[in-house]
């Protein structure tokens, strides 16, 4: 082969298809790989008629294969279902049952897309991988670090889910769409004549096609033969008044307003869940505000660590605007205290906290 090939992770969507076509157009040797992560025939009770945006469906594999054929690259489906179950789905279920709100996309990136997939790329002789993520990578000579930056199109930026990427992973990864906007990508896809150019964006979490996590949990536990945890309990206000009953703490997430089944004068929000006492704690909107929290298992990307308190903007969920804060070091370099300038709503245990300095992703970890 003329040069070492690049392995492109092809989902069958417009973004990764465009990446494959673009790299071929630029003259690279490319191998297309689709990761089979989840068997959509499982849990048939969750099937959504005509659902789009679910990954790993036969339709998506069909689309990816068609694009590979069109741009003339070798193409294979690789089966990572067991790794996906182990590293993404099981932790997702366990976290929910423990009263936290997990983000499986980050786990998938850490353990599957930028780990197992890189291994597979190695196996087929590809030193680099490319994906359709909206983010940018830059090598910074003075610090000798690969830096991660927000996508040029802020509305599509996916760095929140990429905060676990390590230096070796970043050094081998290409994000060819990082400088483009979504309309530009679609235009490019059209110019390449790709049939997927008008395909809808994927939504929700890929293995929960209808977006109903509680229903997924029920079905998954039933399939695994695990008894439903008895998490029925009380709905309690912040000052200790019992307002009613709930059907399980795992059905609630911090900041949630609907589905409490309680009629009160002012709107009530879930402030916290307490799996130990099987309690859902509710309160007014202002009770959701917190000004500081700890982040553990921090992965540092663009900097090696924080020693002194450092200014940053911190994002506590994907749709959150990054709020100004101080990062305070602890004795443990992978544990950081975040102190917001202004209190923020719904700091949710289990979600990621990602630290930015402008476009630069400093690092990120998990909210304790």
């Amino acid at each position: 082969m003329p040069e070492t090939p690049i392995a492109v992770a092809m989902s069958g969507g417009v973004d990764s298809s465009t990446v494959a076509a673009l790299l071929v157009r630029q003259g690279h040797s490319v191998i297309g790989l689709t990761m089979q992560l989840w068997n959509q025939r499982r849990l048939p009770e969750l099937a959504v008629e005509g659902a789009s945006g679910r990954c790993c469906s036969l339709d998506d594999v069909y689309d990816a294969r068609r694009v590979a054929e069109q741009v003339g690259i070798p193409y294979y489906v690789v089966n990572f279902e067991s790794q996906f179950e182990e590293h993404v789905v099981k932790p997702f279920v366990q976290q929910y049952l423990a009263g936290r709100t997990p983000i499986p996309c980050t786990l998938c990136n850490n353990y599957i897309k930028f780990d197992r997939f890189l291994e597979m790329a190695d196996a087929v002789g590809a030193l680099q991988i490319a994906t359709g993520h909206y983010a940018r990578i830059r090598y910074d000579k003075p610090s000798r670090r690969y830096q991660l930056l927000r996508a040029a199109d802020a509305s599509k930026d996916q760095t929140y889910f990429l905060c676990g990427l390590t230096q070796p992973q970043l050094s081998r990864t290409l994000f060819p769409l990082g400088e483009m906007s979504k309309p530009e990508v679609r235009e490019l896809a059209r110019s390449f004549g790709l049939a997927v150019a008008e395909k809808g964006d994927s939504q929700e979490i890929c293995f929960v096609p209808n977006g109903d996590y509680a229903q997924f949990l029920d079905a998954y536990l039933k399939e695994s033969g695990i008894a439903q945890p008895r998490t029925r309990g009380e709905i309690v206000t912040t000052d200790g008044r019992i307002l009613g009953e709930h059907a399980g703490v795992h059905r609630f997430t911090v900041g949630q307003r609907r589905g409490l089944g309680i009629a009160t004068g002012e709107p009530l929000y879930v402030i916290a869940t307490d799996p130990a006492k099987q309690r859902v704690i509710v309160g007014a909107s202002d009770d959701l505000l917190r000004d500081r929290f700890f982040t553990s298992d921090v992965n540092w990307i663009s900097i090696a660590r924080v020693a002194q308190p450092r200014r940053a903007q911190v994002k506590i969920r994907n749709k959150h605007y990054a709020a100004p804060a101080w990062l305070n070091a602890t004795g443990d370099p992978t544990r950081v205290e975040v102190a917001f300038d202004e209190p923020q709503r719904a700091v949710t245990p289990g979600q990621g906290a990602v630290f930015y300095d402008g476009d630069l992703v400093l690092g990120g970890g998990w909210i304790e």
Partner: protein, 380 residues
């Protein structure tokens, strides 16, 4: 890049003579074989000639051949045409899904199903069949040659037992036909499934041998074709091609199977000599001459298939599924391979086009790919 094909158990290239017969038939013999006129009669003649050719290959009477749309349909017809909920069927843990799935379809409605174990050899013990018999047993369905291991099952012995017990025996012969001699008198099966594309014929045509006197219900309804057993206007070009493929197989079988066994043994011995941590899955005796299933310790078979394909060698990890993704093989699991070894196993199936030079080139590619995969330690 030159591409070499070592996946003949998946399918075979169409032989030139077969292609010629099929194309000429497709172009010229367009009559409906059920029609009374000249055109219909010509089609009928081509079809009946093919029936005689296939019957000759398996030493059967032409009236015992029912043409189908392939091996899977023949298997389905044999199972669903013979068994009803409430009955009992004896099969093996290493059958093809085309047999297991139709059995399984009625299992929840009260069909009792015995899946006989095969042990590490991949060969069923006839005594296990005898022990599994019950008064409700309506069918014994056991493959002739296994698609992944090539192991041959003791069909003649099982057939004697079945006949004594008065129970019909179905044999899935898809992977045996054309590779080993198939003689319905010697084998004694009542039903025998076949597929054209495994012996250099076209895809989409198969046949079920139905011994005279065996009563079987059709799968589909709507016509009197194939003696009321398989309705639908016959695929005359495909059937004609199947006939030619059968005749070719009969002529070349003895010499070709010796040649393939020689290549296969050379492949295995060279791999075992030159690559550490390798071994053969299943028995090395009593198997089809073209099939070898080898494990490469510590290797992800899926990665090895892709790496070999990129070097121009087509092999397989076992069964391929519709999305092209690979799932752990139920056959390797049944012969006691733990999941790691099952995932580290590859199927090589040789055929007419393969030469000793290709085998050596394959071993070299294997050596390089396995060394690379072990160096970067991609784990299953």
């Amino acid at each position: 890049m030159q591409h070499y094909y070592f996946d003949h158990n998946a399918t075979t290239p169409v032989a030139p003579e077969v292609l010629e017969a099929m194309v000429s038939c497709l172009g010229q013999v367009y009559g409906n074989a059920s029609s009374i006129h000249f055109f219909g009669q010509t089609a009928k003649q081509r079809m009946e000639a093919a029936r005689r050719q296939l019957a000759a290959l398996i030493h059967a009477d032409p009236t015992e051949i029912v043409f189908t749309g392939g091996g899977t349909e023949a298997d389905n017809m044999a199972v669903l045409g013979m068994v009803r909920p409430g009955g009992h069927v004896i099969t093996t843990a290493i059958e093809h899904p085309a047999v297991l799935a139709p059995c399984g379809r009625w299992e929840c409605d009260g069909l009792a199903m015995t899946r006989l174990p095969v042990g590490a050899s991949g060969i069923v013990n006839p005594d296990d069949v005898r022990r599994a018999l019950t008064p409700q047993t309506a069918l014994i369905s056991i493959m002739h040659a296994n698609n992944e291991l090539g192991t041959l099952q003791p069909i003649a012995e099982i057939a004697r037992m079945a006949r004594e017990a008065g129970i019909p025996l179905h044999v899935d012969g898809v992977q045996a036909l054309g590779k080993v001699p198939v003689d319905m008198e010697a084998l004694g099966a009542d039903l025998y499934s076949m597929s054209a594309h495994k012996l250099y014929g076209p895809k989409g045509v198969g046949a079920l041998y139905v011994r005279k006197g065996t009563r079987i219900a059709p799968l589909a309804l709507g016509g009197h074709h194939e003696r009321d057993r398989r309705p639908g206007t016959e695929n005359v070009p495909g059937i004609a091609a199947f006939g030619v493929a059968a005749e070719l197989a009969g002529r070349s079988l003895a010499a070709e199977s010796d040649r393939l066994a020689g290549l296969r043994d050379r492949l295995e011995n060279t791999v075992l000599d030159r690559i550490s941590g390798t071994g053969i899955n299943g028995a090395r005796w009593n198997r089809t001459p073209n099939t070898s299933n080898i494990y490469f310790e510590g290797i992800d078979g899926e990665a090895l298939v892709i790496a070999l394909d990129l070097r121009g060698f087509a092999v397989s990890t076992g069964a391929a599924c519709s999305s092209g993704a690979m799932a752990p093989s139920h056959v390797l699991t049944a012969i006691g391979c733990e999941p790691g070894r099952a995932r580290a196993s590859m199927r090589f199936s040789l055929g007419r086009s393969n030469t000793i030079e290709q085998v050596y080139a394959l071993v070299e590619a294997l050596e390089a790919s396995v060394a690379h995969l072990r160096r970067i330690s991609v784990h299953a």
